[in-house]
């Protein structure tokens, strides 16, 4: 294994500074306004893309920056810290871009990667099903061959941003996989394909990106809609799921920084007795503790990304899970403590901290619940027997 340093490179730090500056010119107000008005954050998406920040992890020959998931995660974290996270980065460049880069044919790469890199083509990702929440072994969306290619049938739930995507990378199984063992295969399905329908799910989360139920009713696909090898199994899927976890961690730690920054700013200026409330340890210590938790989660996220970018898939998977766990807990506590610091103001629309409560809560559930991560760590890291 190559030596991986503990501190990010000067270039990574420059990238963070520039993204932070650009995102701050939009600010939290922009994100909140767009979300409340039912609009998207397309301007920011395009702006980020224009500077090559969206496509950092896509290979240069396909219009990207030739960097890694660590770079992409840094971009997302800074966007979130500035109050305007772009959720579709988790799926379009991180999951879909990575899977196509690693397993797509040259033709597939040429067709999809340049658009994913420059933001003109957004690809959503569909794995979760109503009857197979955390158990992806129970995926029932099936693909059967027909004369020209494939016919896809199934149902997906909690799929982000289908309405702003031109295609969805759908996790399915081939029909002859009777053994029940998971042999996921991945299909690129255009969102305007006949038989492909989606309905929004009303969520209590302030977000410009919506969640959808997806109905796939005998959607005909050409043979080259299949990305990678029909029998390559878990490898291909995890090539996409590890970046997803790393990106989810970056999303969470960025949001945690936002919550902390707002709390700290308030605690420095709000004065009730003789000193600003931040001088009271009852206020200061929880915020300090959150800062420690966030920094630890960031470090683990960076480690997971470094391992992934070094080609250490197995080690990256373990680190990505732990990073996701730590980041989710860190952001939930940070949001809770921020609200407590602001008191009544913490629940007002004006101060904008309350919306972080539900948004942060999502981190403990998606893309994999903290319980499933603990199951994984119990069995994979500690060697304990499995219950399922």
């Amino acid at each position: 294994m190559t030596q991986i340093p503990f501190v990010e490179s000067p270039e990574r730090q420059s990238l963070r500074q520039e993204v932070r500056k650009l995102a701050s010119s939009y600010g939290r107000e922009y994100f909140v306004r767009q979300a409340r008005n039912g609009e998207k954050t397309t301007e920011l998406w395009q702006d980020i893309a224009k500077h090559g920040y969206l496509g950092v992890s896509i290979p240069e020959e396909y219009g990207g920056g030739g960097g890694g998931i660590g770079d992409l995660a840094a971009v997302l974290e800074e966007l979130a810290a500035a109050g305007s996270p772009l959720l579709m980065m988790v799926v379009s460049p991180a999951i879909c871009g990575t899977v196509i880069t690693r397993f797509g044919t040259d033709e597939q790469k040429r067709r999809w990667l340049p658009g994913i890199a420059d933001g003109s083509f957004t690809m959503a990702f569909a794995i979760t099903e109503p009857d197979a929440g955390s158990n992806s072994h129970r995926i029932t969306t099936t693909a059967r061959r027909d004369a020209d290619g494939w016919v896809l049938k199934g149902r997906k739930i909690y799929i982000s941003g289908v309405d702003e995507a031109q295609a969805v990378l759908v996790v399915a199984r081939t029909e002859d996989a009777k053994t029940g063992s998971l042999k996921p295969c991945l299909f690129v399905v255009p969102t305007d394909a006949a038989g492909f329908e989606y309905q929004p799910i009303e969520m209590e989360i302030l977000s410009p990106e919506k969640q959808f139920s997806v109905f796939i009713d005998d959607v005909h696909l050409p043979a080259d809609a299949l990305v990678g090898d029909e029998d390559a199994g878990l490898l291909q899927l995890f090539a996409g799921l590890n970046p997803e976890r790393i990106m989810a961690s970056a999303f969470a730690t960025g949001m945690a920084r936002l919550a902390l920054e707002q709390a700290v700013e308030y605690a420095k200026t709000r004065q009730v007795f003789k000193t600003p409330i931040g001088a009271h340890q009852a206020i200061a210590h929880p915020l300090a503790e959150s800062h420690v938790e966030v920094e630890l989660a960031r470090l683990m996220t960076q480690k997971a990304a470094a391992l992934y970018d070094a080609g250490e898939d197995m080690a990256a998977g373990e680190a990505a899970n732990m990073a996701k766990f730590a980041s989710a807990d860190a952001v939930c506590k940070a949001a809770d403590r921020a609200v407590q610091t602001l008191g009544g103001n913490g629940l007002t629309v004006e101060y904008g901290v309350a919306s972080l409560l539900t948004a942060s809560r999502l981190s403990r559930i998606a893309p994999v619940s903290r319980e499933m991560i603990l199951n994984f760590v119990s069995s994979f890291s500690l060697g304990l027997p499995k219950s399922y």
């Binding site: 270039e11 420059s14 090559g52 920040y53």
Partner: protein
Amino acid sequence: MNIVVCVKYVPDATGDRKFESDNTVDREGVDGLLSELDEYAVEQSLQLKEKLGSDGGDSEVTVLTIGPAGAVDAIRKALQMGADKGVHVQDDAIAGSDAFATSLVLAEAVKKLPHDLVVCGMASTDGGMGVVPAMLSERLGLPGATLGSSIELDGQTLKIRRDGDTATVTVEATLPAVLSVTDQSGEARYPSFKGIMAAKKKPVETWSLADLGVDAGQVGLEASYTAVEETQARPPRTAGEIVKDEDGSGAKALVDFLVSKKFV
């Protein structure tokens, strides 16, 4: 076409400004960066290079700065934006130099570089004197087109628009020339990801006063004509006054306030 863009490494204006016992700016205790006003100079330099395209032969933008070791960060930022190479004049003897001494060092450095156009920002965000571009043109014996808010290059003729309070003037100069640009000249670009990565490999040379043939006695705090005698912390921001308009009296209250402060 050779463009030299002069930039300054300054303390981050969003942080707390501190001073040393000799009233020079404390550069150790704060984060430094490329002066925001110089980003406009870099931007215009890059735009001129891009407009010249291949017609201008091999155009090159060289970033020049004077400053302590950390000042290389300012060069790096300009290289990330797209400049081609950097020159960092670094010498302990320069510390504390005023605008006059600074312009001497800059001029000697520029003379060592091929230059058709020397581009500066309108002022630094820390010292804020805004006189270096004019001093530089004098020392180099080149025409100085300063405070340009729009810049055009037509062959060997530089044409700028300078916006004044009462009139706008168009200034023309023949190359080689010194140009300074305002914050109205066009938003500075963000470095692209590729730009950030490419900057790592771009050459940066470090020169000392000896390399420039400048005597240490001509620069630094001792040799400076101007001296900072006193510094004061900015007074804390006061709460301000909110004019509420519930019965139609708001407009009058607002005008009364402006009159009381002699704004109108």
